[in-house]
Every structure is written in C-alpha cells, then in structure tokens.
C-alpha cells in the first residue's frame, strides 16, 4: 500500500486530478505494482542460475544525415487543435 500523500504526489507530477475514491484505488493498485517489483528483486539472476542474462549491446550509431519525414500531416492530425501549423494548447500556467 502507498500512503495517500505518495499517491497525491505522483498524481501532481503527472498533472492528474484524483477524487478521494481514486486515491484509495491507486494506493492499492500502485502498491501492488511495487510489491511485484519487490518480488522480482528476489529472483536469483547470477550466472548458472538458469535465468538468462541478456548482455547490453553498445549503441549503434546513425550517420548525421537528414531524412525528411514524408507525412507531417499525419503527425499534426493527432493534435486536438492547430494554429498556423503549430499545436494549439490551453495557455500554460506556471504551477511550480
């Protein structure tokens, strides 16, 4: 279980407004996610334990060449509103 304060903090960071019911719902739900992570931590992953370790490859690079994405309209269409080619959003309020 997470505390009420922890849930409210996460909600604030995610810019979500929660009702009291939702807060207690997430106290339980997010708590279960954390419990599951704790359980995963207990798994023996050292060599020879049968759990396969996938080595991280080094990052492959991309050459510095410009490729223009052909379907910008599709990207803009996802916006709730557009103004002269820009994504139009409600005015930003500084909350911090």
């Amino acid at each position: 279980m997470l505390t009420k304060e922890e849930v409210l903090k996460i909600a604030r960071l995610a810019r979500l407004e929660l009702t009291d019911d939702e807060v207690s719902f997430y106290q339980n739900r997010l708590g279960r996610v954390l419990d599951y992570m704790t359980e995963l931590k207990g798994i023996e992953t050292r060599e020879g334990t049968g759990v396969r370790h996938v080595p991280l490859d080094s990052e492959k690079f991309r050459n510095d060449e410009v490729v223009t994405f052909p379907d910008k309209e599709a990207l803009l269409q996802n916006a709730p509103a557009l103004e002269e080619g820009g994504f139009l959003l409600p005015a930003i309020m500084e909350t911090e």
Binding site: K60, R62, D64, L89
Partner: protein, 479 residues
C-alpha cells in the same frame, strides 16, 4: 556596497547548454535547422509517437567528445542515457533523454585570463548529452507549440562553483564559448539560443565554508547581461542577509530593460525528475580507437593558435593571448595581416585601437564597423608614408564612426602626407623666417631647438608633412 562586498563572498557555478553543429537531430534524422517554417522538421521520434525509437547521431557524439578533450575531461568509455521526466507542452514524450548518473565525461578544467592579467583555472564538473525541447509561443488564446527544435542535440556543461565574482563568471563563459567556436562544436549564436547560460549564485560571509542558499538565474542571452545580473544578484542577496531576511531558493531571470533580476518561480524543493536509465538506448560506448581518431582531426584550439601566432607573426605571448581570445578575433587579425603584410602593426591596431573602441561601444568583434581588410588597407597607407601614424588615428576614428574606406576619408579630408621636398622646404623657410631668435640660438649651439623647428613645420603643414623628411630637411637648412 563595496564595503559589504568585502565582508561577503559570492559563490557562482554555471550551467551552459550548447547546441551541437550537426545536420540532423540527436535521436532522429530530422534537420537541425534554425528558422525553418513551423513544424516542418518533425517525425514520429521527435514528436513522441508511441513505438517510435531513438537512434544516436554519431556526429553529435563526436562533437561532444571534442568538447571533452578541449576541456581536459575524463571520458567514460561506457555512459548511460537517462530519462528526465517532467510535463511541459514543448516536451511531447513527457521526458527528455539526457544523461544522469553516468555522463559521458567528468572532471575537466578551463583556464581563463582575468582583466588583472592573472590566469585562473576553474573546474568543470561534468558534460552530458541531451536533447533540446520544442518551443512554446504564447498567444492570447493559448500556447502554440513548435517542435522543430525538439530533439536537437545539446551538451550541458556544468562548472564547479569556483567563480567568486561576475568578472570571473563572464571570463569563464567567454573562454568556454571560444573553445566551442574554435572546435566547430557549437556556433555560439546566443541570440538564437544556441549557447545558453544559467547561473547559480549564493553569498556567504568571508571565511565561512558552508554554502548559502542558492538562487538560479536562467535564460540570460549575453555575456554582459550575465555579468550585470550576477552583480545585481550578489548585492540583492548581501542586502537581504544584512537585513536578516532569509534568502529563498528561487529561479530568477534578468530584465535588461529595468536592469534587475526578477522572480520566475519559487523552488520549494528540488525538482522530482524521477530519472531512470533510458530503456530504448543501449550504453554509449566510446572506444579508445575512436577517441584517437577524433583527436587526430581536432581543429586548432585557442592555446595552439596562441602559440602559432607567436611563432608565425613574432607576437609576444601577451599579444597572442589577447588576439586569440575568440575565434572571430583571431580570424579578424589574420585577415588584417594578410592585407597589410605587417603583423606587428596589425597586432597593435587590433589589440589597442580597435578593441579599445569596441569595448567602449559595447560591441563584439563581429559587429566592428571597421572590417579587417579596411584596417589592413589603413596600415598599408601608413607603411607607404601616405599618412603619418598620427593622422592615421584620425582616419581610424572616422572609419570606426562611419565604416568608410580609409582611402576615401584621406582623399576627402585632404589628409595625404606631404612627402614632396619642395613643399616641405617652403614650410621650413616660412618657419625660419618667423623665428629669427631661435635660429640664432640654434646656430650658437643650442641643438635641442631642432625639435622646436620640426614641431613648427608640422604645425605649418597641419601635421601632414612626413616627419622623417622634415627632420632631415630642417637639419640640412639650418646647418
């Protein structure tokens, strides 16, 4: 305030975001291009479409490594990209790809020259890669987001809190800017936001070792404004401490119209960015072979240019240091020498006359009204004895005020030096006729009077006679 400044000490650390000179963005192939039409350089990656995956721009990493080499940093062979999570409309993914626990390099340093002539070394804590955010344009009915800049490659260079006053901070920034420009790492354009500076400032009583509460100054877009803002902030904080008012942890910005810093936001606690390793990217591996390849093609750095100027142009270490303070200045000087063919005179004119005037006018070298070839032209005219050094200063003044060519000014104002023996002799005759007593004294052995006659002849010719010839001809006439 100066007494109080003695009692307190400021502690300043700087964070610089420098845009890397690449063709494409950091994690996608969209163009890294300033001033393009709104939302033209966008793709699924930089607009944060679900399922789109980032790929690392090799050139961006190379340029970052150049900066690391130039700033004497320790380069990590394996660094990790991390997600910095926060919500803002210009950040479509809801996180910025950056580096956190394991940046690609740390523990560097930079040496700067202070106006006292003293050299001082400041520590660089770390440099890490990150992507830029988009741009919010505030309109009356809402915010319009342009994502052309989202994903453009940046390095963030974080200094140690080693600076103690605005001058040191200003010189640190100038030196850093210069290194990035010399290395073709960043174009340094501050108006376009390609080199941005944030400053952390706190004050404490001298002798104290604990840091005071720091205030962050953000988004200052010129060296001079950084210096002014820091000075203002130091005085403001000292004033508050003196009045026993608590200094609040804040983010402030510089208002250049009012010459004050203004509150942007209160910072109750550190941001909760919930950094974690970027699962979409593997570790960034920098092999020693790659590092060597990059070293081989490193452009000339300020220290090297300074040495070359001493060898090639016979300049003193000091002059070479002054003339290589920025890449633009070094280029200006080289071009002036190319025209004038006189490295010493060019150094004097650039370092003394030109820089002095630019400083007084609050201008940088790229805003000089006198172009390098015009200055070279002026020096040629002095060397050819077309004008005297003294007249040249008048001509230069006019060039600086109007941007006109020296030849035109000399012609228009009739400033050409008189090197015609007949004309000079005529002037000498006039002076001799007007000063019989002095002539008699001279002939009686008072040879010091020679200077008097030369001065009178120069006056007679309005300073335009060739001084060497006057000297010689006066002697000949009187002896």
């Amino acid at each position: 305030m100066s007494d109080l400044r003695e009692k307190y000490e400021a502690v300043i650390g700087l964070e610089v975001h420098a845009q890397l000179l690449t063709k494409s963005k950091m994690f996608c192939a969209c163009a890294n291009q300033y001033g393009a039409e709104i939302n033209t350089n966008i793709c699924p990656v930089c607009t944060g479409q679900p399922g789109a995956l980032p790929t690392v721009n090799q050139r961006a990493v190379e340029l970052g490594i150049r900066a690391a080499i130039a700033l004497d940093c320790q380069i990590r062979s394996e660094s990790i990209f991390a997600r910095k999570n926060y919500f803002y409309p210009d950040l479509p993914k809801g996180y910025q790809i950056s580096q956190y626990e394991k940046p690609y390099c740390e523990h560097g340093k930079i040496t700067v020259r202070l106006k006292s002539g003293e050299e001082k070394t400041f520590g660089i804590t770390r440099i890490h890669f990150e992507e830029d955010a988009g741009k919010n344009v505030h309109a009356s009915h809402g915010t319009v987001v342009n994502l052309n800049r989202a994903g453009v490659p940046l390095i963030e260079i974080v200094s140690e809190p080693d600076m103690r006053n605005s001058h040191e901070a200003g010189q640190y920034l100038r030196a850093l800017h210069s290194i990035l420009r010399y290395g073709d790492i960043c174009d340094g354009n501050m108006e376009q936001g390609n080199f941005r500076c944030d400053a952390n400032i706190s004050v404490r009583k001298r002798g104290e070792t604990k840091f005071g509460t720091k205030v962050e100054l953000k988004n200052i877009n010129s060296f001079r404004f950084v210096e002014k803002a820091i000075d203002y902030e130091i005085d403001r904080q000292i004033d508050m401490v003196e009045k026993n008012e608590p200094i609040r942890q804040q983010t402030r910005t510089w208002n250049s119209a009012k010459n004050i810093t203004e509150l942007m936001r209160e910072k109750e606690s550190a941001h909760d960015y919930r950094y974690f390793p970027e699962p979409d990217l593997s570790p960034l591996v920098i092999s020693s072979a790659w590092l060597e390849d990059i070293k081989k093609v490193m452009p000339e750095m300020p220290v090297q240019v300074r040495e070359r100027f001493q060898k090639e142009y016979g300049l003193s270490d000091y002059d070479a240091g002054v003339l290589t303070a920025s890449k633009d200045l070094a280029l200006y000087y080289q071009e002036a020498v190319k025209v004038s063919n006189n490295s010493k005179a060019s150094a004097n004119w650039v370092a003394n006359e030109l820089l002095g005037r630019l400083n007084a006018a609050g201008k940088e070298i790229d805003q000089s009204p006198v172009k390098s070839d015009q200055l070279g032209d002026l020096i040629i005219r002095i060397d050819k004895s077309e004008i005297s050094g003294k007249i040249a200063k008048t001509v230069f003044e006019e060039m600086f005020a109007t941007g006109r060519n020296p030849g035109d000014i000399i012609k228009e104002k009739g400033l050409v030096q008189i090197s015609d023996t007949g004309a000079i002799e005529a002037a000498i005759d006039k002076v001799i006729a007007a000063n019989p007593t002095q002539v008699a004294d001279y002939k009686a052995g008072k040879v010091k009077l020679l200077a008097f006659f030369v001065g009178q002849v120069m006056k007679e010719t309005k300073g335009q006679a060739n001084p060497g010839m006057v000297n010689e001809l006066v002697k000949k006439k009187l002896d």
